[in-house]
């Protein structure tokens, strides 16, 4: 038994542990998600985060130890943001044709998400650095961290809020759109996907991609647009506030 404890102490401190745990738990969660017919509430990211955070807290492994391994996955967020140029390129004809209304929708949605977060944070009496970390939460995590830092929020907190926002969108989008009677034709799927990408970045896009190819492409487009719009407009807006 002491041998086992020693082994655990050794293993849990190496980067191998964080990387392996992240991948294995995610692959399992993904399998359960597929088995349950991709029900929104079975979202694999949500359950992976719950299992890993719970497991780390229960075993007393500190987050930095975990992150020493998980950082190899985290690092890929940068190249993934660059890679978003690819779905944009594939849709460049459509983009050229519709850029006006897409830009309008992206700006309206982005302002609604950030503005309402700011108002809610203020109305609920949250500390100002928490509220400021809420503002960029509709943008994909690494970019949200950069924006939060610029406007006086806490980058690590902004990243967590971005992930929660992504999960909320991925979980609730379907029900909201069905309640609004957004049709399930090509245009309807494009609108659903675009809204998910605008409000819930990569996690919304991942959900959209699983449901419908058109929705997925428009979600990727929306998330790319939101990244550019938010990183330009949010710091600018706060300069005047």
């Amino acid at each position: 038994m002491p041998k086992f404890v020693e082994l655990w102490v050794y293993l849990s401190a190496t980067p191998l542990f964080g990387l392996t745990a992240t991948l294995v738990v995610y692959v399992l969660a993904q399998a359960v998600y597929a088995r349950l017919g991709q029900a929104p509430w079975a979202n694999p990211v949500l359950w992976t985060v719950v299992c890993l955070a719970g497991g780390l807290l229960a075993t007393g492994v500190p987050y930095p130890t975990y992150f020493a391994g998980a950082q190899f996955i985290h690092f890929l967020l940068g190249p993934a943001v660059v890679a978003l140029a690819w779905p944009l390129w594939l849709r460049r004809e459509e983009l050229r044709r519709r850029w006006g209304r897409l830009l309008l929708a992206a700006m309206a949605g982005g302002i609604a998400a950030s503005g309402s977060a700011l108002l809610m944070g203020w109305a609920l009496g949250l500390p100002s650095e928490v509220t400021l970390s809420l503002v960029p939460k509709s943008v994909t995590a690494p970019v949200a961290m950069g924006i939060a830092e610029k406007i006086g929020g806490i980058p690590a907190l902004a990243a967590v809020f971005a992930v929660i926002t992504g999960l909320v969108g991925a979980l609730s989008g379907k029900y909201l759109f069905d309640a609004l009677r957004i049709p399930r034709d090509a245009e309807g799927w494009a609108a659903r996907g675009f809204a998910l990408g605008t409000s819930s970045h990569g996690l919304g896009a991942a959900r959209a991609l699983q449901v419908n190819a058109d929705a997925g492409a428009y979600a990727g487009l929306a998330l790319g647009l939101q990244v550019v719009l938010a990183s330009a407009l949010i710091p600018l807006a706060f300069r005047f506030l």
């Binding site: 990211v45 660059v82 978003l84 519709r98 998400a113 009496g125 989008g173």
Partner: protein
């Protein structure tokens, strides 16, 4: 090998973006500038083929990449226990507001430049 070349391109564009962002102190993060640069670079076949393979793989597993940051919620437990419900309320309401406004904006603007607009208007 193609995928590996694709990753090399992605990292090169990200590095170029990072250099521009820091060097000119632009408001955009490095990867965002890298994305815009790549959009121009994709005109070349040399970039396009490898990048398509790598981008498809990365974007297909995009949600996995958010896990390490998400687990970071465990470091903010005191904040969560103090403000958790209020934070969640603010996140849920503002996310729904974003979804609602975007989807309605696109829904109301539909047909204007879609194929249906070519139909003659009904009298």
């Amino acid at each position: 090998m193609t995928a590996l070349r694709g990753l090399a391109w992605l990292l090169l564009f990200q590095s170029a973006g990072e250099l521009l962002s820091r060097g000119l102190s632009l408001p955009f993060p490095g990867p965002v500038i890298g994305m815009v640069l790549l959009l121009i670079g994709l005109r070349s076949e040399l970039v396009r083929d490898p990048v398509s393979v790598c981008a498809d793989f990365l974007l297909a597993h995009l949600s996995l990449l958010f896990v390490p940051v998400g687990v970071g919620v465990m470091t903010h437990l005191s904040l969560v226990s103090q403000y958790g419900v209020r934070i969640l309320l603010a996140v849920v309401v503002s996310t729904l507001a974003g979804l609602l406004v975007t989807v309605l904006a696109l829904h109301l603007l539909r047909d204007r430049d879609g194929p249906a607009s070519k139909e003659p208007p009904h009298a």
